[in-house]
Assembly symmetry: C2
Homo-oligomer: 413 residues x 2
């Protein structure tokens, strides 16, 4: 069964997009729908209305993941999940996450209206807190049972504001673990998202078929030196923690550019103690995030950065401590989902290319649980997490049509 003429209703999709873009709109035309905020809850209420309007089953689980379910005739059928997220970072754009949720909803509406009978249930899902206002990927981590059991227990009070935010949103922190599903009930996971890079735009290709998602490790490097009078201490005899940190920042970028062409790092923050102009810095903390498409190379790159930090510290008569405070392993997308997307592109005569995702997505978490895949649409100038984030509307429509046909290909394989 092939339905090459079946197309989504792009006017209805556009109306949805315009309405959703009003929720959390800021004075400078950005979007702020931080997870569990008033704006996020407003977007979810609006989305629940759209699900009801379409005649689907509204469902929310114990982690706040909000779904619309199009049941098939067989109650024992598996469920194909199609999702993304409605939450945003601070001062975000309109496309990141939102496009994926609305495209999934529109795909289901089109399939439903066409009267197609599929052997699987279809479920559009808005995952809670993808962006990490509280915990990145909270929704998909809960659904796959990957949060530690005592994660929300609050022995030392660190989680108290997160717990309060959950309760305000009607989520009982004690019941979050109940959101866990069984992989046996799932037929797969698929997501459309903006690329957030410029590879598609520059190569003038319509669709990116994601083969894998980068692994990420986050480090805090703390360089320790010795405070001293900024005037009376010889320039040749200082233990200036900032000298070691600055050298490391420069050389870490050189290392990755020269030796890890598929790796990226970001030194995102520096904190200097005591931080006054008249005292030589005694302690400097540098936050570094490392990403690589290949797990073994990610680990090798991390070891090289640790060695480099020690080398830079030594060169400046300092010591350095490192703390890896976050890690997500690289994820490979499922061949069957990749093929379903590529087949859809061919059915619709849309150009496509395979690529890796340098951003994290719920598909990364879902891939440990069920056959998962993603497709990207082009981002203009590669800008994201910014009010200037933009994708051409025809690319949104094209991506939604590819998503719908990929859903059909997966459901009917």
């Amino acid at each position: 069964m092939v339905f090459p003429n079946l197309k989504i209703n792009h006017e209805r999709l556009h109306a949805d997009f315009e309405q959703l873009s009003q929720i959390g709109l800021t004075a400078d035309n950005g979007i702020c729908r931080m997870a569990l905020s008033r704006e996020d809850l407003e977007a979810r209420a609006w989305f629940a209305d759209r699900i009801e309007e379409a005649g689907f089953l509204v469902h929310d689980d114990d982690a706040g993941n909000l779904s619309g379910i199009l049941l098939c005739d067989n109650p024992k059928a598996k469920t194909l999940l199609i999702g993304s997220h409605l939450d945003t970072v601070q001062n975000a754009g309109r496309y990141d996450g939102a496009v994926g949720v609305l495209a999934a909803l529109e795909s289901l509406r089109t399939i439903n209206e066409a009267g197609l009978k599929l052997p699987v249930h279809l479920e559009v899902i808005d995952f809670t807190d993808d962006e990490g206002a509280w915990q990145p990927m909270f929704g998909s981590l809960s659904l796959t049972g990957r949060l530690p059991k005592n994660y929300l227990r609050d022995a030392n009070g660190e989680m108290s504001s997160f717990r309060a935010a959950l309760v305000r949103a009607g989520i009982n922190p004690e019941h979050v673990h109940r959101a866990r599903r069984s992989p046996a009930d799932l037929a797969g996971y698929i997501e459309v998202h903006i690329e957030q890079g410029w590879r598609l735009e520059r190569s003038q290709v319509n669709i990116g078929v994601v083969t894998g998602i980068v692994g990420r490790s986050s480090y805090l490097f703390t360089f320790h030196g010795q405070a001293g009078h900024s005037g009376t201490t010889s320039m040749w005899e200082r233990k200036d923690a900032l000298q070691g940190a600055a050298l490391f920042v420069t050389r870490a970028h050189e290392l990755v550019r020269n030796s890890y062409p598929e790796g990226v790092i970001n030194c995102g923050n520096v904190e200097v103690k005591p931080g006054t102009r008249t005292i030589i810095p005694s302690e400097v903390r540098v936050t570094v995030e490392c990403r690589h498409v290949k797990q073994t190379l990610l680990e090798e790159m991390e070891r090289a950065l640790l060695d480099l930090a020690h080398e830079c510290a030594q060169a400046c008569y300092l010591t350095v401590m490192s703390d890896r405070f976050g890690h997500i392993a690289t994820a490979m997308m499922s061949d069957s989902v990749i093929e379903a997307i590529e087949k859809a592109c061919e059915q619709l005569d849309v150009t496509y290319t395979r690529l890796a995702s340098y951003a994290s997505h719920n598909a990364q978490v879902m891939s440990t649980f069920t056959e998962s895949g993603m497709l990207f649409i082009p981002s203009v100038n590669g800008i994201s997490h910014n009010p200037a984030e933009f994708s051409e509307w025809e690319d949104v429509v094209r991506g939604t049509n590819v998503l719908m046909h990929a859903i059909l290909n997966l459901a009917l394989r």
Copy 2:
């Protein structure tokens, strides 16, 4: 007239030193007497009692400078000022400033008890806020009339907490300008201080005779780049403000070490915006303090650093703005005071060497107003602004005797 056998009472000096060291003592054996704090005011009250006890006139001016005056027989005589400061930085040691004030007091007591008749008034002075809890050198800047007239006017509220601190200390902000004196009334200014470096200790010389005090300029360099997603933005196409700042920090130190052997700089603070690991830094502020013994070379060094900042910004596709927010010109000490100190060293058979001060002192401000000079005593390991700050007691006593004889040499020249 030479009095080579006249010596200060080192036991009385030691008793004073021990008592003063209890005021503002912290749990980790440091001293905290930030200007105008309760502890600073307590030290001043204690000092006023010592002045009264010695039979000198207690005087405080409209900027809170606290003096003890030993009047000579001629009411029209000029006044020789001998001073330092009782305030400290946070978590300071016991010697910085305190030694200078106590040595001056002890010198006057010894001269008075010896019944020496001098042709000048002698005045020991504790300058308000040398360390800059509110305004570095506030006391000497007020005494020399160098604060702008509207300095404490509070149009935008920035000065309100400083004004409140002054009022709490019994100082009327509206009357501070009245502290200004006339240079015609002064016979000079002399100060003993710990070196805060290790030149004397390493060369095993007793006394440093200060020839000049470094000029200081403080800059804020702001590197501007472009925020972006830390994962999806190519390592080769970033405008990462931290890359430019880190390169500048490293190369600025190289520049000064290689080209300005008598200059020192300190990059004391770095602030990164937005400062999160997932976003490429868009703005980085670096605070830099520059010091040089020679005014022309200070200015040349500053120009070279400005050029370097632009070069580093350009190399990383950034722009950079610079703001010089503070400047004190280099100061030359008076030949007559230098000679009075050196003569005292010879009279007492004490070794001495000429050197420049890399720390700022009230003598720097006073030198624009009256013939001024300083002598240093050795600092163990060069440590200062730290509870571990230490000078051998015999060096304190030796410095006080040199100070007293230098006072006599100046008064009787």
